[in-house]
Symmetry: C2
Subunit: 384 residues, 2 copies
């Protein structure tokens, strides 16, 4: 879905006068529909996305760090915000199928919201994705198509096929679908309403690059509306081995060809599968976001991410996926950088729940348990 004239990316402009949030949809992101590219939401396809809690983090006691708990969305991640906009658009234009390339959260969101809308859903992925990760999509009625090819040719192939066959494409990159990109703005709207002001720092996991840019545009919308005076500095967290954007940022690269020339082919596998793009499809937009906001990139190892995931469970009470662990590891790195003042407000985006990734996490952090007889129970419990 690109410009029919120049083939460039598509975005949206909004009129900012006379915008007011719609109280009828309190507790969901549809409260903010006047700044989404859809008609008034009587036709919204929704399972009640958004309205997620902003929890004070226990892990950084002296600092004001908040966790935006996006695991509370219908299928356990912020992708529900994007897909509810996309499927609402799909339904409005009379589509009867929604195709997406995804092996992760976006595929589950597509399956759930398409089911809700009465559309068929098709999820296309590369070979070898663990069946436990695919299963929820299947359980939500999606047809699963595994392709024996690397992910990039699949993404381009699916764009071509959908265009030829007139199938609605919901892949969460701007070139595939610009509508879905607007859903992430509502994360910023909710944070501003909850805090009554803009945070000073927002830490976002960067995979394809669309989330960090969407959240940033949400804060800019809030400034345009006069709801906030300042905007936060955006911190993008990438996997250590998949840090093309970090390198591009540090080297001041301005052209996508220069990013593509960086040596990021044939990288080792990472447990941070949802962030592990060699060349993130919305990478240029993400680079622009980090620069405009006066932020920076942080890269974290799989081990750091897993440790942060573990700490988040034990200290915050949130069972998150490894890729969300990466964001929290990045937050620790930000706090350790000495750049955050004591009065600063920091928000970390807790993007996805761990319940959908149990099998993957277990491989890296095996279960431990005691096994006792009934007679030994008393002695066993004495230890706690």
């Amino acid at each position: 879905m690109n410009c029919g004239i120049c083939a460039g990316s598509l975005g949206f402009r909004y009129r900012y006068h006379d915008v007011s949030w719609d109280d009828r949809f309190d507790g969901t992101m549809w409260r903010y529909w006047p700044l989404l590219p859809v008609d008034p939401p009587d036709g919204a396809v929704t399972l009640g996305e958004g309205g997620t809690p902003l929890l004070r983090a226990r892990s950084f006691e002296e600092h004001r760090v908040y966790l935006k708990d996006e695991t509370r969305n219908p299928t356990g991640s912020h992708k529900d915000r994007s897909l509810s906009v996309a499927i609402t658009h799909a339904k409005a234009i009379g589509a009867d199928v929604s195709v997406i390339v995804s092996t992760g959260s976006a595929g589950i969101s597509n399956a759930a919201l398409a089911a809700r809308a009465g559309l068929r859903s098709v999820v296309v992925m590369t070979e070898g994705t663990p069946p436990e990760r695919l299963y929820p999509m299947f359980g939500l009625g999606a047809a699963l198509v595994e392709v024996k090819a690397p992910i990039d040719p699949i993404v381009h192939g699916v764009i071509d096929v959908c265009r030829e066959q007139g199938l609605y494409l919901s892949t969460t990159s701007r070139n595939s679908n610009p509508y879905q990109a607007e859903g992430n703005k509502t994360i910023a709207f909710e944070i501003v309403e909850e805090l009554g002001k803009a945070p000073d720092w927002v830490v976002v996991p960067v995979g394809g690059g669309g989330t960090v840019s969407g959240v940033w545009r949400g804060f800019r919308d809030c400034r345009a509306l006069g709801l906030i005076d300042s905007v936060p500095r955006m911190i993008g967290v990438v996997p250590a081995d998949y840090n093309a954007l970090e390198v591009a940022f540090e080297r001041g690269l301005n052209r996508w060809e220069d990013v593509l020339a960086l040596p990021y082919d044939n990288l080792p596998p990472s447990i941070l599968v949802k962030l592990a793009h060699s060349y993130p499809p919305d990478g240029m937009e993400a680079l622009g976001t980090i620069r405009s906001s006066n932020g920076f990139f942080v890269s974290v190892t799989d081990e750091e991410a897993l440790s942060a995931q573990e700490a988040c469970g034990r200290r915050e009470g949130l069972f998150v996926e490894p890729s969300t662990g990466a964001c929290l590891a990045g937050t620790t790195r930000l706090m350790d950088s000495g750049q955050v003042h004591l009065e600063d407000v920091v928000v970390a985006i807790v993007s996805g729940s761990g319940y959908r990734e149990t099998a993957c996490t277990m491989d890296s952090r095996p279960l431990r348990k005691q096994s006792v007889s009934l007679e030994e129970l008393s002695t066993s419990l004495t230890g706690f």
Copy 2:
């Protein structure tokens, strides 16, 4: 936690004059704290439980059936409501550990909320629980203790040990902890606020028996407050092989000894593990609830539950656990009974998400997918 004088079960009475909901906690169950057995909720231990959507079901088009989507709670089930009350109480009385007997949702809730409160959590379960079901508890920092004994002696053993050692016990049965039992009332409060009246029928999965009774007490509270004129008929759904309560109801049994005399030992395993109690610990209370409300029990097979789980995914967009499938199968049975009028409002409690049960469901309903080459992609997508 029983009466120190007569050893009987404990409950709570409330004053119903001057009760008003607390708008500061909108969007969570803590809005209703004046009818919970805790102090004003500045000390509430919460991850933002409750405030779950009431979705119009697509599956019963001509009838007004709603799904109360409890999968939207912090750990994916309604048990978070019970455990947030229990852990708030535990913290208020100075406990530093919360022990629970559970192999399912309540164990995850205990782990998450104890972590949030800074308490240690211990989950005790019977041998042989699949590691995928235990893993989230481990990921949330719980110590796991597997006991080589059937579940009933474990429950009683843990009650004794906790009493001896002064450990806080959070098991979700009234005899173990009467505080947690109050959390389920808030499901009814939310339904009444959303509908502006009482539904005519409420369908609830019955495992231990506490949920159906808690929801029922919530509706009675609403009537006592003058918020509703009538109360719903409560339908309890039990597994076909574990239907002692259904039989007790139909035979008019009034004493627990008579229920215990029914032949429900050594039953075959069921995929409805969260409902499969031979003799539900809160069974007498559940029996009383169904009778008082002029409702009845429905029993469903594993196969019916799995089919309803599948239909819920494909038609409603909700990926639920098999035990929640049982509730939806029971709802279909109710609708087919001819007792529901066209103008009646029916609410089914969608109690638990399927993301925590992926491995178990996969065994019963294997994944299906296509596998194609890049060249075959176009032909493959033509089929949709």
